[in-house]
C-alpha cells in the first residue's frame, strides 16, 4: 500500500531536489561512476526499493523453512495479502481473515520496503524450525544497524508455515513500537 509510502520516508520534493544536488556534488567529487550517481539519485527520490527477487526466493531449497520465510517476505513486500496469510499458521478464522490481511499489508511494507533479509541459520526441531534472520536496512538516510531476529515455523500438511502470533507480534512491535495493544 503506497500512498502511505510517501509518508514512510520519501523526502518532500524540494528537499529531495536539494538532497540530490548535494549527493550529486559529493559523489562527483569522489570520482563515482554514472551508475553510482544514478543509484544515489534514485534513492533520494525514493525509487530504489530493495525488492526480494525470484532468484533470492529460489536460492532457498523448495519446501524448506528458509523458502517459506523468503516467500512470506516477498508477499508482504508486494502487498500480496492472500499469499502472505497462506504462509502463516494457524490460518485465521474466516471472520478474522479480512482484518488479519489488512494488518499484514498496512504494517508489513513499513518493515520490508527499506530492508532486506538474509537467512543466517535454519535450526530444525521436532515438527518445527527456527530461522535466524539478519535484517539489513537499505535506506542509507536512516543509518540503522543490521538487526537479528528469529522466526518460528511449524510443518503442516501444506508445507512450512510461520507461526502467526509471533510473526504478527514482531510486525506490530517493529511498526507501532510497542506490543499490541499499546
Amino acid at each position: 500500500m503506497w500512498p502511505q509510502r510517501v509518508r514512510r520516508g520519501a523526502a518532500p520534493w524540494p528537499a529531495a531536489l536539494v538532497g540530490s544536488a548535494i549527493a550529486a556534488l559529493l559523489t562527483a567529487a569522489c570520482g563515482s561512476t554514472d551508475a553510482e550517481l544514478r543509484r544515489t539519485l534514485a534513492a533520494e527520490r525514493g525509487t530504489a526499493i530493495e525488492v526480494v527477487s525470484r532468484a533470492q526466493v529460489e536460492s532457498q531449497p523448495a519446501g524448506s523453512p528458509g523458502r517459506a520465510v523468503m516467500e512470506l517476505w516477498r508477499a508482504v513486500q508486494f502487498d500480496d495479502a492472500k499469499t502472505a496469510v497462506s504462509l502463516i499458521a494457524p490460518r485465521p478464522a474466516a471472520a478474522e481473515l479480512p482484518r488479519t490481511e489488512e494488518l499484514v499489508i498496512a504494517l508489513g511494507g513499513v518493515v520490508t520496503d527499506s530492508a532486506k533479509p538474509r537467512i543466517l541459520e535454519v535450526d530444525r526441531t521436532a515438527g518445527g524450525a527456527r530461522v535466524s534472520l539478519e535484517i539489513v536496512s537499505t535506506d542509507d538516510r536512516q543509518q540503522q544497524p543490521a538487526r537479528r531476529t528469529e522466526l518460528k515455523l511449524v510443518r503442516t500438511g501444506l508445507g512450512w508455515r510461520v507461526l502467526a502470533e509471533q510473526a504478527l507480534g514482531q510486525l506490530r512491535k517493529e511498526t507501532l513500537g510497542c506490543d499490541w495493544p499499546c
Partner: protein
C-alpha cells in the same frame, strides 16, 4: 485496531495535507496505463486482466473495477468507501501511476502477477517517476477470464483515503473557524 493502523499510517500524510494546501483537481480524467502497454499483453493473459483492472481504477470506474474481482474478493470490500475513495484522493493518486508487469508465477488454477508501480505524474505520454512500489495480485480463472482474487490492498487504501478526506475536511473547518 483498524483505526489505530490507519492512524499510524496516516499521520505523516495528514501533516502533508495540512502543510501543502489543497491540490487543484485535474481538469480531465485520463486512462493512463502506459500507451501500448495494455495492448502488448495477450487479451487472455493474467497480465492483461491485471492491467485492465488498473485502468478501471485510473478511469475511476468503481463498478468496472469491482466486476473484475472474484466474489470472495468482493465480499469484504466496503463498496461505498471504495467509491468515495476513488472519486477523491485515491483516484487522484492512482491516476498518476504507471504499472509495469515484472513477472508472473502460475500455479494450478491461478497465477500471481508481480508488478512495479511507478508513482509520480504524467506529462503527456511521459511518466515522471518520483517513487516506486511493488504490488502482486493473485488472479484465478473464472468463466473464461482472469479475475483478481483478493481485495486487501484496495480495502486498506480506500479506508486510508476516506480517513484522509475526512481529516482534511475537519482541518478546513478548523482553519475557517480560526479566521472568522
Amino acid at each position: 485496531m483498524r483505526l489505530a493502523v490507519l492512524a499510524v499510517l496516516g499521520l505523516p500524510a495528514l501533516a502533508c495535507l495540512a502543510g501543502c494546501g489543497t491540490d487543484p483537481r485535474p481538469l480531465e480524467h485520463r486512462v493512463v496505463v502506459e500507451p501500448g502497454r495494455l495492448e502488448a499483453e495477450s487479451r487472455r493473459s493474467p497480465e492483461h486482466s491485471v492491467l485492465a483492472w488498473w485502468s478501471t481504477l485510473q478511469a475511476r470506474e468503481p463498478e468496472a473495477a469491482i466486476g473484475l474481482l472474484t466474489p470472495a474478493a468482493r465480499r469484504p470490500l466496503d463498496r461505498a468507501e471504495f467509491r468515495s475513495a476513488l472519486r477523491g484522493g485515491f483516484g487522484d493518486w492512482v491516476e498518476a501511476t504507471a504499472p509495469r508487469v515484472l513477472y508472473t508465477e502460475r500455479e494450478p488454477g491461478g497465477a500471481t502477477v508481480y508488478m512495479r508501480i511507478d508513482i509520480g505524474d504524467w506529462i503527456g505520454s511521459v511518466h515522471v517517476t518520483e517513487e516506486s512500489a511493488m504490488l502482486a495480485l493473485p488472479v484465478v480463472r473464472r468463466d473464461g477470464r482472469w479475475m483478481i482474487d483478493n481485495s486487501t490492498w484496495l480495502r486498506v487504501n480506500s479506508a486510508l483515503h476516506v480517513a484522509l478526506q475526512q481529516a482534511a475536511r475537519q482541518e478546513r473547518t478548523r482553519r475557517k473557524g480560526e479566521t472568522e
